[in-house]
């Protein structure tokens, strides 16, 4: 086994993803199989090979850095699950006590 239950729980925390307990064992098994498969790349010696991060950036020009109008506030807030007239409403995340 390459992937353990603890690995999956650690990664799920990083990904901000709660997992249901009943799906966890199966996920561990599936991810272990996939990671086992992708280790196939170890067969190749890539020590002298540069990485590819993008394939066509040289032909993609930058646009001038000019201020443009953005979305009006009420449009930006239109689909928010919870909002105030000024912004998105979220649970408290700073302990003010």
């Amino acid at each position: 086994m390459t992937i353990t239950r603890d690995d999956v729980l650690r990664v799920a925390t990083l990904a901000r993803l709660d997992l249901d307990d009943d799906s966890l064992d199966e996920l561990v098994h599936e991810l272990d199989r996939i990671v086992g498969y992708v280790r196939k790349l170890d067969e190749l010696d890539t020590s002298d090979v540069p990485p590819t991060t993008q394939v066509a950036v040289s032909s993609a020009p930058l646009r001038p850095d000019e201020a443009r109008p953005g979305l009006p506030t009420e449009v930006a807030l239109r689909e928010a699950p919870r909002s105030t007239p000024e912004g998105f409403r979220v649970p408290a995340f700073v302990d003010e006590t």
């Binding site: 990664v11 709660d18 799906s23 020009p61 646009r63 699950p81």
Partner: protein
């Protein structure tokens, strides 16, 4: 014949509307009726009845007023539900983007803007009749993971249409629309096109703007057309292609005359046949069909040379590291704050709200990929997986660069198998990933590819019926050589139809 107009090609239909022979309203009517009649295929998750009819009425008025009509006047087009539309909901096939409306029913997210490709289609008079089903967040090869349920293949409704742009392919194949847009990250246009017997194009990375395409893997995603013939796909690509300042990866490279290129045919082109695309796992009937196409190309006077792309076998592993890594980052935006699903227990803090919303909103395959992508990017694993895959991606690109010094076009099968049965691979992610083995390398290299129907095969699967299923041949060209790609594809289409 109630569907006679929908059996016309994109170009024929547009020319009739422009010439005044056919009112656009009649086409919109026929398309909307066909979509309703074939709701069993589950190709659409939203039908834009009113706005499509309104657009058609405007076109007809425009024509009566003597004003010129666009290149896609009156052509009904389906949009993959990953493309943002200001007047139609967008769900990307996910529960994450569904919300309960005032009427108590669930609706997709309403984008404040149109994707650039959508704007361009509207400007040329296309009738946007609805949003097509897809695998959730485009993560799949079968269109089964959609929150609206599986899409069915019109050739055999017990089978998948391919994916992730399955609804788009079905809309075109079943003649519900004349064309469709899909998106291709690792084969999501070409593979469903092959399984449904239509033409599907993945343009060069950077050729088409992704502004307004819900992002999956940003170094790979590309929007492209589907149609029933090569020329129709060429016309749609001409409309949607070209630089867009709103997409920083959009290339400032002139758009060619793809429709004119279709006249050239295969004459003078040098074809390469990569040995690695004909190995174990290729269905014998598909091998025979592709070899039949190759024989016709040779008989037409083209040179056909065996070539080698030695790193092909590493494409699937490379892709699933890079695409999932990018997806894990892109999908971080779905956090229950600005749009989409939110689950918030009383007294829950922000982190708990994130975790619960994402657990409730994402389906199983999406969770698998977010976890894998987070894993390969995490401290201690980054070099072994992500950085390694970026280096192997270079080797895969170099394979293509090398063979394109000697040949103009590569010819391969699009998919190793015909459309499989619904449910067959759903519990076996690795088997599902292998469906894209022949389309992934071109995505990693950024080069353009097309799938063209090249025959049918009868499947004996032990049931009463023995359905005939389509086979697709894939053609690949160097970056930004779409004109050559369309010349080759139209030539191959003609050779296939001549027999």
């Amino acid at each position: 014949m109630t569907q006679s107009l929908l059996s016309l090609s994109v170009t024929e239909l547009a020319e009739r509307v422009r010439g005044g022979a056919v009112p656009a309203v009649e086409i919109a009517d026929q398309s909307l009726r066909a979509i309703r009649e074939r709701s069993d295929l589950n190709a659409f998750c939203h039908v834009a009845e009113e706005s499509a009819l309104a657009a058609a009425r405007r076109l007809d008025e425009q024509r009566r007023g003597g004003r010129p009509l666009g290149k896609l006047a009156g052509v009904p087009i389906a949009l993959k539900d990953a493309l943002c539309t200001h007047d139609q909901p967008t769900s990307c096939g996910s529960r994450m983007l569904l919300r309960s409306g005032d009427d108590g029913r669930e609706h997709g997210w309403r984008s404040p803007y149109d994707a650039t490709v959508v704007e361009r289609l509207r400007a040329e008079g296309a009738l946007l009749v609805g949003k097509a089903n897809m695998d959730e967040f485009a993560m799949g090869s079968s269109s089964e993971t959609c929150v609206y349920g599986p899409t069915r293949n019109p050739w055999d409704p017990e089978r998948i249409p391919g994916g992730s742009s399955g609804g788009s392919a079905v809309a075109v194949a079943a003649r519900l629309t004349s064309a469709a847009l899909g998106s291709d990250t690792g084969g999501s246009i070409r593979q469903p096109a092959a399984h449904c017997g239509v033409v599907g194009v993945k343009p060069t990375y950077g050729r088409v703007s992704r502004y307004g395409l819900v992002a999956f893997a940003s170094s790979l995603d590309q929007v492209g057309p589907m149609a029933r013939d090569v020329r129709g796909a060429a016309r749609v690509l001409e409309v949607i292609a070209g630089h867009d300042p709103k997409d920083s990866t959009s290339a400032d490279v002139p758009v060619g005359d793809y429709e004119a290129a279709c006249e050239r045919g295969v004459s003078g082109l040098r074809f390469g046949v990569p040995a690695e695309y004909f190995g174990d796992g290729l269905d014998p009937s598909i091998r025979a069909a592709i070899e039949g196409v190759i024989a016709k190309i040779e008989a037409a006077g083209c040179t056909v040379t065996p070539v080698s792309l030695p790193h092909t076998d590493y494409g699937v592993a490379t892709y699933y590291i890079l695409a999932t890594a990018e997806a894990s980052s892109n999908l971080a935006r779905f956090d229950g704050v600005r749009f989409g699903k939110r689950v918030e227990a009383p007294g829950a803090d922000l982190q708990a709200m994130y975790g619960a919303s994402r657990n409730a909103g994402f389906g199983r395959e999406v969770k698998r990929r977010i976890l894998l992508g987070t894993y390969v990017l995490s401290a201690g694993y980054y070099d072994a997986y992500y950085a390694k895959a970026q280096r192997v991606r270079t080797l895969i690109r170099q394979d293509f660069d090398r063979v394109f010094q000697d040949v103009d076009v590569l010819i391969t099968p699009t998919s190793p198998t015909v459309a499989f049965r619904i449910g067959e691979r759903l519990d076996d992610p690795l088997a599902m990933y292998m469906a894209d083995v022949y389309t992934l390398p071109a995505s990693l290299a950024g080069i353009p590819g097309i799938s063209v129907p090249c025959g049918l095969t009868t499947v004996q699967d032990g049931r009463d019926s023995s359905p005939e299923l389509p086979i697709g041949v894939q053609l690949l060209c160097p970056m930004f050589e779409e004109e050559r790609l369309f010349a080759a594809a139209a030539g191959v289409e003609e050779l296939v139809r001549a027999t």
